[in-house]
């Protein structure tokens, strides 16, 4: 039984699968099957299969599609947008998929476009992903030329057009509505929701924005069915996922594993444990904008809801490991600098709050901290909480800080009382 549908075409050699090779291993078979289904059936299938958004939020993909108005006459133009602006600190999963198996993404895009009735799809790709851009464009050219996803074969009135758009580089473009603004040539600032993009998205048309990895799940889901897909997971969630580990581990990298694989297995088995005999103090489970978890959480299965219950988010599933010899405040400062710089400047708690957080953390590191600073940081993270800001950037930025304040409070106190960073 196939256990690694996402990476089955990815070998040791750094080359992209071409169309022929891809087709030879059942490539575009899912797409051909999707064509035989009505958009409604397709949406229900994906919803039933329990595919959840791999961008980090974990929202049911089929459910997301179902919010697109079904009245085609009232809404003739729809768009599918692939979010390939992978800029989450510590995350590099979409890159692998795009660089090595670009057709998998294109097939997924074709399926999703068929489900929502979109004749145009955009891939909004991170500007620094030069190689992925190059390989994707070649794949788009190949598949367009082949006519596989175009013309008579589709259920659409017109051939599916896939456009590749290189971002100019802005973390906020990963936020789906800011991405849409950027794609329209406007300032990359998020939009107010409601209206949700499914109703009024790109150029005001119904639009679905899906992450690269999410879309890559579709071909084999279609090919092997919802039941098979559900069983791929080890726990509550369906399917497999690319999990990664970075930090001071022996073997940093990326592995396709079933949903529900415990953290310990990734860190200790696949990543080979911590190097130089270091011990683990905590870890960010899924990118820079998730709450720290501690060693007591190592045996939790990596499911969206389980991790949420533990006080964090699965996020992108790429773990960043914090060891005992690394200053947690330095780590948080580094992340906060990134988020402060990447704030789009639209709403106050983020734009003016994050630089202030950086200022405080920097002072702690410099030995200029005061006892009020811990309280002040807590105030800031509360103010940047979900719902208080315009989008999820600041709440995400607040997560490592607020959890560090909980898990590593003594380190903060030591920084203040000891007149600086004890790790230096």
């Amino acid at each position: 039984m196939l256990t690694n549908p996402l990476t089955k075409n990815i070998g040791a050699e750094d080359v992209a699968t071409d169309l022929q090779t891809y087709r030879d291993s059942d490539g575009y078979g899912g797409w051909l099957r999707a064509l035989k289904m009505s958009p409604d059936e397709l949406t229900q299938l994906v919803q039933k299969a329990g595919l959840r958004g791999r961008g980090g939020a974990g929202f049911n993909t089929g459910l997301k599609w179902s919010f697109v108005p079904t009245d085609r006459r009232a809404h003739p133009v729809r768009y599918l947008v692939c979010n390939a602006d992978e800029m989450e600190p510590g995350t590099f999963k979409d890159r692998l998929l795009m660089e090595r198996d670009p057709h998998l993404l294109l097939e997924g895009i074709a399926i999703a476009a068929h489900a929502i009735g979109a004749a145009t799809a955009y891939i909004f790709i991170r500007g620094e992903y030069h190689l992925a851009t190059q390989r994707l464009q070649r794949a788009i050219d190949e598949v367009t030329e082949s006519g596989l996803i175009a013309g008579e074969t589709t259920s659409l009135d017109q051939p599916l057009q896939i456009y590749l758009h290189c971002s100019s580089g802005n973390y906020i473009c990963g936020e789906e509505t800011a991405l849409l603004n950027a794609l329209e040539g406007k300032r990359a600032i998020p939009r107010a929701k409601p209206p949700y993009p499914q109703v009024s998205g790109l150029w005001g048309r119904p639009t679905v924005v899906n992450n690269v990895e999410t879309l890559c799940n579709l071909p084999h889901l279609l090919l092997h069915g919802a039941e098979w897909y559900r069983k791929l997971g080890r726990g509550e969630d369906s399917g497999t996922k690319l999990f990664g580990a970075s930090g001071k581990v022996n073997n940093p990298g990326l592995w396709e594993l079933p949903m529900g694989t415990p953290f310990r297995e990734v860190i200790e088995h696949h990543a080979g444990g911590l190097r130089d005999g270091l011990t683990l103090r905590g870890f960010l489970p899924g990118g820079g904008s998730t709450d720290f978890l501690g060693p007591q959480h190592l045996d939790l299965p990596m499911d969206y809801d389980t991790v949420r219950k533990a006080g964090s988010r699965l996020g992108t599933g790429t773990i960043t490991v914090l060891d005992e010899a690394t200053c947690p405040i330095g780590l948080v400062l580094n992340l906060s600098r990134f988020f402060a710089r990447e704030s789009c400047g639209w709403c106050t708690p983020c734009r003016d709050g994050l630089p202030w957080v950086v200022e405080i953390l920097q002072r702690l590191e410099n030995g200029e901290g005061t006892t009020n600073d811990i309280e002040l940081l807590r105030e800031h993270t509360a103010r940047m909480g979900p719902g208080n800001t315009f989008c999820a950037l600041a709440p995400g930025a607040a997560e490592p800080i607020q959890s560090a304040l909980k898990l590593f409070e003594q380190d903060f106190i030591d920084h203040i009382q000891g007149g600086g960073c004890p790790f230096h």
């Binding site: 133009v77 802005n170 906020i172 300032r187 990359a188 939009r191 107010a192 409601p194 209206p195 109703v199 009024s200 150029w203 005001g204 048309r205 402060a340 710089r341 990447e342 704030s343 789009c344 400047g345 639209w346 709403c347 106050t348 708690p349 734009r351 003016d352 709050g353 994050l354 630089p355 202030w356 200022e359 002072r363 009020n372 002040l376 105030e379 103010r383 719902g387 208080n388 800001t389 315009f390």
Partner: protein
């Protein structure tokens, strides 16, 4: 109506509104920044956070942004909740991390929304210890200062400038807390509504640069409601004055917007905001002048210019009085020349003094004809004059020939808002509230049909769905085709009127059909035309189109017919007959002189050189035995007058004016003019009182003490003004409205360099307003209070506290007063009356000839505002605009000096080649200094006499 609970108090509120609007309308102090009543919500600043409780059991609730929260029936909200207060305090604290502590030297201080909101949240102690971000500022032109360090990034400026006003040269640049609101490079902000940034910005990033030169704090200003005198729209303003404390300081300090829902709402144009400086001009007339007996020899001042000397006002009045005596054939004939930029009081006084049969409009025949056409059309009861909110709600607009961006700017700004109406409609279908500004703007919807017909692509072009750019002849043919299609009520192209050259043009036919269909299909169509185009045919066509639409729809149709000046429509009502124009006056003067009658011309606030071809005007003045001029500033006419009286400018006096829609409004004196300045009617009354003339009308004038006396007589004399006394705002017996705030400072000190004693403030004999801090201060208690502020709300943002609901009418506002005109259906104008006899098709066959037509500029075409320092510094250079195809045929290059003749007149102007102007015409600027009389000559055939190549001089040219 929904029932909601705010902090335990149950209240009713209109469904579909956002919670912030409701809280503000209820007088709750809820701080906000990015929201603006005219621009809706975007949820950027997070300042207006409140707690929303799910139900009675939900004690904790959830933090929501009130501006982005649509109320729900039974909703429970708390503004006062600790969590909400704490959050709002934190937001202010965040905003203040980079805001400089420069309030004492910041010009926004004392009327700063940021100050108010900071006080409101109670943020007093600074905890941020880091350095503040700093920016470089830009030069944004002579009107607006830029101080980016003060910016709190509320995004109101770019939302206003780009989204609301259609500007393109101000944007948000950069990101994070470095976001910068500025231009791509230093330079003047080019949008004609840029001045509103000063009021839109909640703090001191954008401030009024003209005001900086003679700055005073808001609490030290004295204010009274006024009417903008720079065009016919009649925007309400709040000019601010203060006694000069320093040498060189003027009385009048600045102009800000005064909310009037039906006309200007929250916004003014730049001419209206920055044109005030003419009143401070060093050239202002402040003394009575008499012709000096010394001849001006070899003067370069120009032919007929007299030298003057100052005389005591009493002497001047006596000299004036002598001309009022011995009236009659063979003796004296006194003729009054009124003015469309002077108040009803002044014009009526002159009419009474001279007698209705001797009172002339002070306009050329064409100008008067155009105004009378507007009046005639408005008398048809199938036509309504649209208010600004009505313009904003139009769902199809036809603009016939009028460049409203430059002749009635506030109307153009309203048209711009109408362009969004289909999006609002679409939003309603998708259940998106219309205040969700960003969401509404991005919805795809077919554009609202806005069809512009004219000879130059207008600034409004970006929101026009169709433009017909052509010669006046083509435009009239187009209008005719639209009319014919509406009348026939079908889209059939064959019914275009036969026989006109243009109707054979299929392009015109198609656009005309589309236009007619769009207007016919619209629920709220609007037809805009005006006097600026100087095409009676287009005005008539506008009237006919509107009435044809009304017939079809069975209800009155909205129009906006732009009149050029502040009281144009009022002046027309005062005329004894339709031909009281200057050409006729000229004949009367010549005739009288031939019969040996001595002619005295009394010219009221009017420069005849802008009304007639200059030499013609000069001849008229030279032919009269005596010219008595009354005006604010010296001009071609006052320089040729034997007696000159200094009159009060609009902000210096009370007066009533009629705007383009027939609404009568009153302006009040903000300060008393310098020197011997007083109202025109007072000079006339003084002269009459000093004379021995006795008649009913003379006695009437003698009895006038107050402005209201003049108004009463006018209302009794002319039924069209019968409602006029209702314009007077009354205050409770024994009270006055204070022009100064209760904390006006320096009352005893400001004049101490001149007098040790504290002199009593002057009295206002006309209005129930005091020139002091004593009296009514609350803007809710009297609409005469122009200083808009409330406890805790020092800036103009406080206006919502004095309105019936957000964007509603002002509390206590009396019913608007309009002219009481008798209604009459439009005449059945025929095709020939639309086309006129002056320019027959095919006449323009002369290779060297083009039809000269008028062009207007917001900055440059205003007579008074051109004397304002800021405006004068960026005045458009005179030009002649030609289509490159015509230029090629005539061998004219960009920048060449063209000498051209318009009838008797010869002009030399620099050529400007531009694809934006119609082929076959040459556009000449109206109203620029030195070219003030061009408008009077247009339209007419221009003959190009010679072309002087750019950078070269013609041989024998001595200039």
């Amino acid at each position: 109506m929904l029932t909601i609970t705010i902090d335990g108090e149950e209240c009713e509120a209109e469904a579909g509104q956002n919670l912030l609007s409701i809280c503000l309308a209820r007088g709750i102090d809820l701080p906000y920044f990015c929201w603006h009543p005219a621009m809706g919500s975007v949820g950027a600043c997070r300042q207006c956070a409140v707690i929303e409780h799910k139900d009675e059991q939900d004690q904790q609730g959830q933090l929501v942004m009130s501006c982005m929260t649509a109320i729900r029936d039974g909703g429970r909200y708390s503004v006062d909740a600790h969590a909400a207060r704490e959050f709002r305090g934190g937001i202010i604290e965040n905003l203040m991390t980079n805001h400089p502590h420069d309030c004492p030297v910041c010009e926004e201080g004392g009327e700063c929304h940021l100050q108010d909101m900071t006080e409101m949240t109670g943020h007093t102690v600074r905890r941020y210890r880091g350095p503040k971000r700093t920016h470089r500022n830009q030069y944004l032109g002579p009107f607006i200062n830029h101080e980016m360090n003060r910016c709190i990034a509320c995004y109101r400026c770019t939302r206003y400038y780009r989204d609301y006003a259609g500007g393109s040269d101000l944007e948000a640049l950069g990101r994070n807390n470095q976001v910068y609101f500025g231009r791509h490079e230093d330079g003047r902000l080019l949008n004609g509504f840029s001045g509103n940034l000063v009021e839109v910005c909640p703090t001191g990033v954008f401030t009024d640069k003209t005001f900086s030169r003679h700055y005073v704090r808001k609490w030290d200003q004295q204010m009274a409601p006024s009417i903008c005198e720079h065009c016919g729209v009649g925007c309400n303003t709040a000019p601010a004055a203060r006694q000069p404390g320093r040498p060189g300081d003027p009385w009048l300090r600045r102009v800000t917007n005064l909310y009037n829902r039906d006309i200007n709402g929250y916004f003014l144009c730049d001419r209206g905001r920055f044109g005030y400086e003419y009143a401070n001009s060093p050239a202002r007339l402040s003394q009575v002048l008499e012709r000096d007996n010394v001849d001006v020899i070899g003067s370069s001042a120009g032919e007929g210019v007299l030298s003057h000397r100052e005389i005591p006002p009493g002497e001047g009045v006596e000299a004036f009085a002598r001309h009022l005596e011995d009236q009659g054939p063979g003796k004296h004939l006194l003729l009054g020349i009124g003015s469309p930029r002077s108040s009803l009081e002044n014009n009526f006084a002159l009419r009474t003094l001279a007698g209705a049969e001797h009172f002339y409009a002070g306009l050329g025949a064409t100008d008067l004809q155009l105004l009378r056409l507007v009046d005639t059309i408005q008398r048809d009861d199938r036509i309504r004059s649209a208010t600004t909110p009505e313009i904003e709600q139009a769902d199809a607009i036809l603009i016939l020939g009028e460049d409203i961006d430059n002749t009635a700017p506030r109307v153009a700004l309203a048209v711009r808002q109408a362009a969004l109406n289909h999006r609002r409609q679409r939003a309603a279908e998708l259940k998106i509230p219309d205040w969700q500004d960003a969401a509404v703007r991005q919805l795809p919807a077919p554009p609202v049909p806005i069809i512009f017909v004219g000879w130059e692509i207008p600034p409004l072009a970006d929101c026009c769905t169709n433009q017909m750019i052509g010669t006046p002849e083509i435009l009239v043919s187009f209008a005719e085709a639209v009319l014919a299609t509406i009348r026939k009520g079908s889209g059939d192209k064959d019914i275009l009127p036969a026989g006109t050259e243009a109707s054979q043009d299929s392009d015109i036919g198609e656009v005309a059909t589309e236009t007619a269909q769009a207007l016919a299909a619209a629920k709220r169509p609007l037809v805009i035309a005006g006097c600026g185009a100087r095409q009676p045919g287009l005005l008539r066509a506008a009237g006919l189109i509107a009435t044809a639409l009304a017939e079809k729809k069975g209800n009155a149709v909205n129009t906006y017919l732009a009149c050029p000046e502040v009281n144009s429509l009022g002046l027309v009502q005062l005329l004894a007959s339709g031909d009281m124009h200057l050409e006729r006056l000229q004949g009367i003067v010549t005739e009288a002189r031939q019969k040996g009658t001595a002619v005295t011309l009394v010219v009221l606030e009017n420069d005849l050189s802008r009304r007639l071809e200059r030499s013609q005007a000069r001849n008229l003045l030279a032919e009269a035995d005596t010219v008595i001029a009354l005006d604010h500033l010296p001009n071609d006419t006052t320089r040729r007058a034997h007696l000159v009286f200094p009159t009060a400018a609009t902000p210096e006096c009370q007066g009533s004016v009629v705007n383009s829609t027939g609404r009568v409004q009153r302006h009040y004196g903000v300060y008393e003019g310098i020197g011997f300045i007083q109202e025109g009617w007072r000079w006339l009354a003084d002269a009459l009182s000093a004379s021995n003339q006795h008649s009913d009308s003379a006695d009437q004038i003698r009895s006038w003490q107050h402005c209201d006396d003049v108004i009463r007589t006018l209302a009794e004399t002319l039924p069209v003004f019968s409602k006029l006394p209702a314009v007077s705002v009354t205050v409770p017996e024994g009270f006055l409205v204070a022009r100064q705030s209760h904390r006006a400072s320096g009352r005893t000190a400001i004049g101490s360099a001149r007098h040790v004693a504290e002199l009593p403030p002057p009295e206002d004999t006309d209005a129930p307003l005091s020139y002091s801090m004593e009296g009514i201060h609350d803007p809710a208690a009297s609409t005469l209070q122009a200083m808009i502020r409330a406890p805790g709300w020092t800036s103009n943002q406080s206006i919502h506290q004095f309105l019936h609901g957000i964007n509603g009418p002002r509390i206590g506002r009396p019913e608007p007063v309009t002219l009481q005109r008798t209604t009459a259906p439009l005449p059945h104008w025929q095709s020939v009356e639309l086309h006129g006899s002056r320019h027959q098709p095919g006449e323009n066959k002369d290779a060297k000839g083009l039809l000269a037509i008028p062009l207007y500029r917001l900055i440059g075409s205003g007579e008074l505002s051109n004397s304002a320092e800021g405006i004068a510094s960026v005045m458009t250079e005179a030009f002649a605009k030609i289509h490159p195809a015509d230029a090629a045929a005539l061998d004219i290059n960009q920048g060449d000096e063209i000498q051209l003749s318009l009838g008797e007149t010869s002009l030399q102007l620099q050529s400007q080649l531009d694809f934006e102007i119609a082929p076959g015409v040459i556009g000449l600027p109206c109203g620029l200094p030195k070219f003030g009389d061009i408008a009077a000559l247009l339209p007419s055939q221009a003959r190009i006499i010679r072309v002087i190549r750019y950078g070269q001089k013609m041989e024998g040219d001595d200039c």
